[in-house]
């Protein structure tokens, strides 16, 4: 079992967390083309590497960002969205 650090609740076992997928920037829906939007909705960056991901600490209801290497499962840091500088 892995452990993960919730920015609010500290290090907890992974079973307390829900994975929320990669954090992705939404294209501007008013200006992007249909195929750009379809790609945003369906396609994913599946190659391994360091990724910004959404994680949810279920017992406390906390969404946060984890920077995780999907090849090694090593988490570099976790922070609340928009608060990465504070960390």
């Amino acid at each position: 079992m892995k452990l993960l650090e919730c920015p609010i609740n500290g290090i907890r076992p992974i079973s307390e967390f829900t994975y929320g997928g990669e954090y992705r920037n939404m294209p501007n829906p008013d200006t992007c083309s249909d195929s750009e939007w379809a790609a945003y909705v369906h396609y994913r960056n599946g190659a391994p590497g360091l990724k910004k991901e959404w994680w949810y600490h279920t017992p406390s209801g906390t969404w946060f960002i984890a920077e995780r290497n999907t090849m090694t499962d090593k988490v570099n840091r976790t922070y609340l969205l928009g608060q990465e500088e504070a960390k």
Binding site: P29, C32, W37, V41, W54, Y56, G61, W63, D73, G82
Partner: protein, 969 residues
């Protein structure tokens, strides 16, 4: 005849506690502390089991928890490992996988067929003609397997414990104990684990006769026991190495999950058998097994024997054997230089002949093939690995001890991600690059000398301490010059084979050579083709020799062959230890007890328990009768359903309206206080996910409901989007905090009026509106809803008041004929009303256009989730449509079921998503997906029933009540 010898210092048996048990119908004496194998061996019983494939007789091999040919059953348990399982007074055991007993096993004939069963034989036959394969397969299945499962075995749940430590040390031998003492001295919190019943590792059998060994062990154990920083756990093994240094320690009573900040693997090495013909006969055993028998269990391994060796361990084994009265005929050393002079002199001084550059060419079995009669010895060239079979000498004996080398017990190191390299100075794989915080010490690290092992343990502890931030002096381990403890190729070929490499799977040398000939000359392919290492011992005594054979076949150095992956578990681990209590939590609503007391037929609804319908007031009805009765009550008088499972979320803050506008498809900006709006949620692809109601409570506050099954996920996605969008919104999940009930039917207003002073008239509280009112003395939210009937009130009260309000309403409704109704009834009622259920009438791909929900899409808003995808979807042609349908009046044919298909011209056009007979309407009504061209009112389509009958259905408008007024269609 007993082979039990005089008391040995440090022996593991308790001679004050003799006991008796049955083995294969024979009464056997043993002592407390004996394993099954040691007790049987002491009693002169040498045939402990039959092998998996050829059903050959087998005895003791390793005495180290990989004697998987000596597996027992007591009629309750199966596959009990005799080499490590303690005997108990009165136990009645026999060997598994025999027919007619271990001595007379009727399957032993398979051994004679073995020349016709080459490696991978089952791939090469039995399939032509195809029709015969089931016959052969049945034979193979019955021949395979080991023990029989006891279907009456009780479910056993072992408790799980948790532990944390700074340093987890795996192995309480010389290096592990030394590491523990050193680490604890640095103030670190240490756990040491060992799979043996007693700590000490090889100190308990190798050099065990010497005072210095006993002193070393006593001193180390004294330090360990007196140090409060050290927890020593014996009789438990480290099952595997998992992410973030989680190591489960598997003991007899359960698993302790240890999260360690650092791990020192000091798990030692497995002795490896040299390979020669009939090296598997009972009486042929590893030198360390012989030493364990002598020193731990005080059992003489055999009476007259030889030792075949390729290292100094064999000489010490010979001395140990001689010391307990074994007539050691010879030490046969496969090396050209033999042992250091002083050691070989000691052996010679005991009158034991030493033959260097020699090997055992074959063992001569006794006439019953159940034991050793003699060995045939011949010259051996250890560079070419050539045996000169033209010059054999026969030595009579009844036992053989084998010490040709070791393989590191490195499974956990591999699992941790260690890169290993082959070290020619010790002729074994050793760690090359260790992962962060993982250390290796002792034999697993290629360190064999006693003094050096102590230092190596201390070195590893110092490195672990430094890793954990302690300032500690580096410990250096001087290299001790010694001959390699392992032979690079202890394998003697024989034209007649039966020189076993893998005793679990009965794999002989030629099997590897032939596998390579057939192209399986990659170690992983070879493993899969020969099945080496795939038996219950997981290659502990076979993988290393397999690698050596393949290296020789391919004429490559051993390191180029690599190793196979070592996966958990280190030893096979019981399912009852691993599995916990089946954890299937249920949630009860505030009114749960009432439902149960009043005949509610409770069903799982996600995590909740809900009544499907009621056997009301002790009556016994069919489900159909009950459903129709409850539905009629709602249509004609009143009914009430417990709706507490609805998701209930409070959304408030300056941006609450903006948030809902973005989150749901509808418009909320102009919504008046007290009004409700449908809240339809899509995903980014435009698929319908959930629908509920959003009531504006005040300018900056909404009370939002969701479908019961989506409560948690909708709340979670709300939270994510609040953060993502950076809005001033607070969310409170009231799902569990509020009870809810829907009072429905023509009498519902009259009933509710008796319990409140609030004005709930049509004018004051029209459909879709909500007021805050006192109901039966409880502050409640009262909402007009029309999901199940035109006149209905949804009443939300705090959880604690739920039962009180429910009972008050039921009492008030008594004289009006009120009935409680369940979820099955709700399904029928909403169907009559023409309301579809998301994820019942829709699936994971349904968009709002397909489910006639366009009216809920406010496409002129700047943004809502799924909107951009809908703009793309809207340009495409619709390929299915959800419609309302009826069957013919007084339909009596084969009743269609949900999920029956809509068929036209032999093609699937859609499916029925909901269907029910409505007694109120006296019609069969439903929803179905159909092709768009079949979707207009008045169109007909065909449903194929379970039995294949085609039933005509007609598309009608919803709600279905117009069917009462005229003939509908």
């Amino acid at each position: 005849m007993t082979s039990r010898i005089a008391k040995k210092r440090g022996e593991w048996i308790n001679r004050d506690k003799p006991l008796t048990f049955q083995y294969e119908g024979q009464t056997v004496q043993g002592y407390e502390g004996d394993t099954i194998s040691s007790a049987l061996w002491a009693a002169g019983i040498n045939v402990l089991g039959r092998s998996f494939k050829y059903h050959r007789a087998r005895g003791v091999l390793s005495f180290a928890n990989h004697d998987v040919n000596a597996m027992m059953t007591d009629g309750v348990d199966t596959n009990i490992r005799a080499d490590v399982w303690p005997v108990a007074d009165g136990m009645d055991i026999k060997a598994v996988n025999t027919i007619g007993g271990v001595l007379k096993d009727k399957n032993k004939y398979i051994d004679y067929l073995s020349p016709f069963l080459p490696v991978g034989f089952y791939y090469k036959t039995f399939y032509k003609p195809k029709s015969l394969f089931p016959f052969w397969e049945d034979k193979i299945r019955k021949a395979a397997g080991l023990g029989e499962v006891n279907f009456n075995y009780p479910r056993i749940i072992k408790p799980k414990k948790f532990a944390h430590c700074d340093v987890l040390i795996i192995g309480a031998g010389l290096s592990g104990l030394s590491a523990a003492v050193k680490a604890a001295e640095q103030g670190l919190d240490v756990i040491v684990v060992d799979e043996n019943k007693q700590a000490g590792g090889s100190l308990t059998y190798d050099y065990a006769g010497e005072q210095t060994t006993a002193d070393t062990l006593t001193s180390l154990l004294g330090k360990v026991e007196s140090n409060p920083n050290i927890r020593l756990i014996t009789d438990a093994y480290a099952g595997g190495f998992y992410g973030d240094k989680l190591v489960p320690l598997v003991g007899k009573d359960g698993i302790t999950k240890v999260w360690a900040k650092s791990v020192i693997v000091a798990s030692g090495a497995f002795e490896q058998p040299p390979v020669f013909r009939y090296n598997d006969l009972p009486g042929v055993m590893l030198g360390s097994a012989a030493q364990r028998l002598i020193h731990r269990y005080a059992v003489k391994p055999f009476n007259k024997g030889v030792v075949v060796t390729a290292n100094d361990y064999g000489y010490r084994t010979a001395l140990d054997l001689a010391s307990v009265g074994v007539d050691v005929v010879a030490v046969i050393d496969m090396r050209r230089n033999g042992a250091p002079r002083d050691l070989s002199q000691k052996v010679r001084d005991k009158g034991i002949a030493v033959h260097i550059s020699s090997c055992i060419y074959e063992v001569i079995p006794t006439s019953d093939k159940l034991g050793v009669k003699a060995v045939s010895v011949c010259p051996y060239d250890d560079i070419s690995a050539g045996a000169d079979s033209g010059h054999t000498v026969r030595l009579s004996c009844d036992g053989v001890a084998m010490s040709a080398g070791w393989a590191p017990a490195a499974a956990l190191l591999y699992q941790a991600g260690t890169k290993m390299r082959y070290d020619y100075s010790v002729e074994q794989f050793v760690p090359d690059e260790l992962p962060e915080g993982v250390f290796a010490a002792g034999k697993v690290n290629g360190v064999f000398d006693s003094k050096a092992r102590q230092l190596d343990g201390q070195r590893a502890a110092a490195e672990a301490a430094a890793f954990l931030g302690k300032t500690v002096d580096v410990v250096t381990v001087p290299k001790v010059e010694m001959a390699p403890p392992s032979h690079p190729y202890p394998i003697v070929e024989h034209p007649k084979g039966k020189n076993f490499v893998d005793f679990d799977e009965d794999i002989q040398v030629k099997d590897f050579i032939n596998a390579a000939k057939e192209g399986f000359d990659n170690i992983e392919l070879m493993k899969r083709f020969t099945t080496v290492g795939m038996g219950p011992s997981q290659g502990k005594h076979s993988n290393m020799n397999a690698i050596r054979i393949l290296a020789r076949v391919r004429q490559l150095p051993v390191e180029k062959i690599g190793t196979t992956t070592a996966r958990p578990f280190f030893h096979p681990t019981p399912i009852g230890h691993l599995g916990g209590r089946g954890f299937h939590p249920h949630r009860y609503t505030a009114m749960h007890e009432w439902h149960v007391d009043n005949g509610g037929v409770m069903m799982d609804a996600g995590m909740w328990m809900r009544p499907a319908y009621y056997q009301y007031r002790g009556r016994t009805m069919s489900a159909m009768e009950a459903v129709q009765e409850e539905a009629l009550a709602v249509r004609q008088q009143a009914g009430m359903i417990d709706g507490s499972t609805l998701g209930k979320i409070e959304v408030f803050g300056a941006d609450a309206t903006e948030f809902l506008e973005r989150f749901y498809t509808g418009k909320f900006s102009k919504q008046k206080i007290g009004e409700s709006r449908i809240a339809l949620l899509l995903d980014e692809a435009g698929v319908m996910v959930d629908d509920g109601l959003a009531v504006r409570v005040d300018d900056e506050k909404f009370y939002v409901s969701t479908n019961s099954s989506n409560a948690a996920t909708v709340y979670r996605e709300m939270q994510r989007n609040v953060q993502l969008w950076g809005l001033q919104v607070t969310l409170v999940n009231l799902t569990g905090a509020m009870a809810a009930m829907t009072l429905a039917g023509p009498k519902s207003r009259e009933i509710l009026s008796t319990l409140t002073k609030a004005d709930i008239s049509e004018a004051s509280l029209p459909d879709g509106n909500m007021i805050q009112a006192e109901i039966a003395g409880v502050d409640a939210k009262v909402m007009r809803v029309s999901f199940v009937s035109d006149l209905a009130f949804e009443i939300h009260v705090p959880y604690k008041a739920g039962l009180h309000v429910w009972k008050q309403i039921m009492a008030a409704g008594e004289s009006h004929g009120i009935r409680p109704f369940g979820t099955d009834v709700q399904r029928l009622l909403r169907l009559e009303m023409g309301h579809h259920l998301i994820s019942h009438d829709t699936d994971g791909l349904t968009n709002p256009y397909e489910a006639h929900s366009e009216a809920l899409l406010k496409m002129d808003k700047p943004f809502f989730i799924g909107q951009r995808s809908l703009k793309i979807i809207a340009k495409k042609t619709l390929n299915k449509k959800l419609v309302n349908f009826v069957l013919e009046k007084d339909f009596t044919g084969d009743m269609p079921n949900e999920c029956n298909l809509v068929i036209e011209d032999g093609n699937i056009k859609g499916r029925v998503t909901s269907i029910a007979y409505s007694k109120y309407l006296n019609r069969v009504i439903g929803f179905a997906f159909v092709a768009p061209e079949q979707g207009s009112t008045g169109s007909t389509f065909s449903i194929r029933t379970d039995s294949g009958a085609m039933v005509k259905a007609t598309v009608v408008k919803a709600p279905f009540f117009h069917l009462l007024d005229n003939d509908g269609e």
